[in-house]
């Protein structure tokens, strides 16, 4: 194969190699990321804020999850108000908390709702602008002024009342003893603190920020909300057989030759037969390229047979393994090292490391990864160590994908050099994730974003 434009080809090779090196390096952050996805790096209220509560008027328990109003109230500005220690987190579908009225005291003037940071802590939530509160004595909803509107039932001792923010529908909602009593539009911007208030002698209220099970079935509520969105999305129509085509191009891209052949054969006999027209845009010439070779190399690497893989590459695509300092060679040599550690051939691993890996120490971009690899030697149980991720199958997968992409980049008919890095499916999923994140960010960061991992596992639960 003649190397016409050696300059730009080298650039492409470097790009492909370093792309997968990034992927490999990113792997050890996986666990942390999974955690971050779950909590979205946001803190949640856990207890009541004793610092800014209206100190003189109420008493907060030492465990900071209940309040009492000890004295006799005199007017509208001696309400005992307390907020949660953190504002309601926004990067989720719904936020919710509950109170249990232990004692309704003299007048049952209890309230639950949301208030902003600088709220006047001697007024009932809802009596001041930019706050809302559902009051137990009259069952009214107060939404920024002293006059409330009819909303729900009153509540008193032994009732469990909840307040929540539904970020999908931009609404506040309140519950009593497990059932929703009403909703109201939420146009309040900025942080909102879960708030409770007591205002007559001997009132006592306990709060639950989720440490104990709720009386209200929050999970079911969230499920219903998600289904509403799902139903809107399902109505959208797709071009005929587009999923079929995307799966096919995925198999072609990564070199899953046997699967592709079975898939094609089965597609001919489905009813109605699936026919992918060339105008659908699948550039088959690009990705049919070297299908058999790519399949073979993937199999070898997936089985940990790195030497065999290197040997085949020398035969078929010497230009890939020509530069021993390239990212692709680096990944292959590291993988060989990892395989030796895996079978416990530590002495051989050390020897190999000295020959092939030592030269990468001190090279920016390679250093931390090679350090992690060598660190495997330090542990009796490397799998359980912080560098244990290197021994997982997913690591072999990265190397296999890197070699696959390198071969694709050698295709003389290659139109789009970026095409060999990511399959069509990957590009679509990235676009989906980015759009959802951007949309949320333009929406005050409220609501759920899209995470493929989460979507795949939701199915597992049912």
């Amino acid at each position: 194969m003649t190397n016409n434009n050696s300059g730009s080809k080298n650039e492409e090779e470097v790009e492909v190699g370093s792309y997968f090196l990034e992927v490999a390096r990113g792997a050890h952050k996986k666990k942390e990321e999974e955690m971050a996805e779950d909590t979205e790096d946001e803190e949640s209220p856990t207890e009541l804020n004793t610092i800014n509560s209206s100190g003189g008027f109420l008493v907060v328990s030492t465990d900071k999850i209940s309040v009492k109003y000890p004295s006799v109230n005199l007017h509208g500005h001696d309400v005992g108000v307390v907020q949660a220690n953190k504002p309601a987190p926004v990067k989720r579908l719904v936020y919710y908390f509950e109170i249990y009225v232990k004692d309704s005291g003299a007048k049952g003037q209890i309230a639950i709702g949301f208030t902003p940071d600088n709220f006047k802590m001697r007024r009932q939530p809802g009596w001041e602008p930019h706050s809302c509160g559902y009051h137990g004595d009259d069952g009214l909803l107060y939404h920024g002024q002293g006059k409330g509107e009819a909303f729900g039932p009153t509540y008193t001792a032994n009732d469990t009342v909840g307040a929540g923010i539904n970020y999908a529908s931009h609404e506040f909602f309140f519950t009593k003893n497990g059932a929703v009593v009403g909703t109201v539009y939420n146009d309040m911007k900025g942080s909102l603190f879960p708030t409770i208030a007591v205002h007559s002698q001997n009132e006592e209220v306990h709060v639950n920020f989720g440490q104990k099970p709720f009386a209200f079935d929050l999970e079911d509520f969230e499920k219903q909300e998600r289904m509403k969105q799902q139903m809107t999305v399902e109505k959208i129509s797709l071009p005929l057989n587009v999923s079929h085509g995307i799966v096919r191009s995925y198999l072609l891209h990564y070199g899953y030759e046997e699967t592709l052949n079975s898939f094609d054969m089965a597609s001919k006999s489905t009813v109605p037969p699936v026919h992918i027209a060339q105008e659908n845009g699948f550039d088959e010439q690009d990705i049919m390229y070297a299908l058999n070779e790519r399949k073979t190399l993937r199999q070898l690497i997936k089985n940990g047979e790195i030497d065999a893989a290197l040997s085949k590459l020398h035969d078929w695509y010497p230009q890939i393994v020509q530069d021993d300092k390239s990212a692709t060679c680096f990944l292959l040599h590291c993988q060989k090292f990892i395989e030796l550690v895996r079978v416990g051939a530590l002495e051989e691993a050390v020897k190999y490391g000295r020959i092939q890996l030592a030269k990468f120490f001190g090279l920016a971009g390679f250093e931390d990864f090679v350090q992690d690899c060598v660190a495997l030697l330090a542990y009796e149980q490397p799998r359980e160590s912080s560098v244990g991720y290197l021994l997982e199958d997913s690591q072999r997968e990265v190397v296999a994908d890197a070699v696959n992409a390198m071969i694709l980049s050698l295709n003389p008919n290659l139109k789009d050099s970026h095409g060999c890095l990511q399959s069509c499916l990957e590009k679509l999923l990235r676009q989906l994730t980015a759009c959802c994140l951007e949309r949320r960010s333009l929406n005050g960061d409220q609501g759920e974003a899209f995470y493929l991992h989460r979507v795949l596992n939701i199915g597992k639960k049912c």
Binding site: E33, V242, I246, D283, D401, C424, A434, L456
Partner: protein, 242 residues
């Protein structure tokens, strides 16, 4: 950045200000795309889920070997399910019913609508093959009792029986019942019921995700101008509208 692109960007910003949309350039957007973490194993799972739900047994088996992805359902059950689907698609409804009951007798017991549709299909096939007497007997004995219990069943039964009134069925108002699409509809219903009985989702996830992409882009269009993907089969990024 060349003068040309500077002008383009300024035009975009002017346009955006007029409609108060945020402008995101291709460079900025590509950086956001790069920051997204998509795991290969998750994509493999998505593909496996497609193969399994759509019934590509051999392909699923090969994919398991080639990618190391475990199917989320026992592959043996797929073959049985596909046999039922194929029987309905070929018009062998009696055979299909037998197979479904072999697989799990509860499916038809707990799914009166499905059972009715299968019986209806049987009736359609009898009419298609010109077996008028048998068709009438079948309609009266098996389907009429069901129609009495349920208004919508009755309406569908009447529609089906109406086929007999026409010499030239290709032109009659209910002719669509004889179309292959009717068989496919029933086949799809059976397929879904079997999957549900196996506690598996009846639809593959991939098409929903594609729809979600279209939806997400439409939603974002209201607030921003950014590179879109307009052709799902190529995933090509189009420059933001100026």
């Amino acid at each position: 950045m060349s003068l040309f692109w500077i002008v383009i960007r300024q035009l975009a910003e002017i346009e955006a200000m007029a409609t108060s949309k945020k402008v995101i350039t291709k460079e900025e957007w590509e950086k956001k795309l790069k920051d997204v973490k998509i795991r290969k194993e998750d994509m493999n799972k998505l593909v496996m889920n497609f193969l399994v739900t759509e019934g590509y047994v051999d392909a699923a088996e090969k994919f398991r070997l080639e990618s190391g992805t475990e199917p989320d359902i026992d592959l043996a059950t797929i073959t049985d399910r596909m046999a039922v689907k194929k029987a309905v698609q070929s018009g062998n409804v009696e055979d299909a019913i037998e197979k479904v009951n072999d697989l799990n007798p509860e499916i038809l017991d707990t799914n009166p609508q499905l059972f009715f549709h299968l019986q209806q299909q049987r009736l359609i096939e009898l009419i298609r093959n010109g077996k008028v007497e048998e068709a009438l007997e079948f309609a009266q004995e098996e389907l009429a009792p069901r129609g009495e219990e349920n208004q919508s069943f009755l309406e569908e039964l009447e529609k089906t029986v109406a086929l007999l009134a026409f010499e030239d069925v290709s032109n009659c108002p209910v002719g669509e019942l004889l179309d292959i699409s009717q068989r496919l509809k029933t086949a799809s219903e059976v397929n879904a019921a079997i999957l549900t009985s196996q506690s598996h989702e009846k639809d593959p996830k991939l098409p929903s995700l594609l729809k979600m992409l279209i939806w997400a882009q439409n939603q974002l269009d209201e607030k921003a101008a950014y590179p879109r993907i307009n052709d799902l089969s190529t995933a090509k990024l189009e420059d933001p509208d100026v």
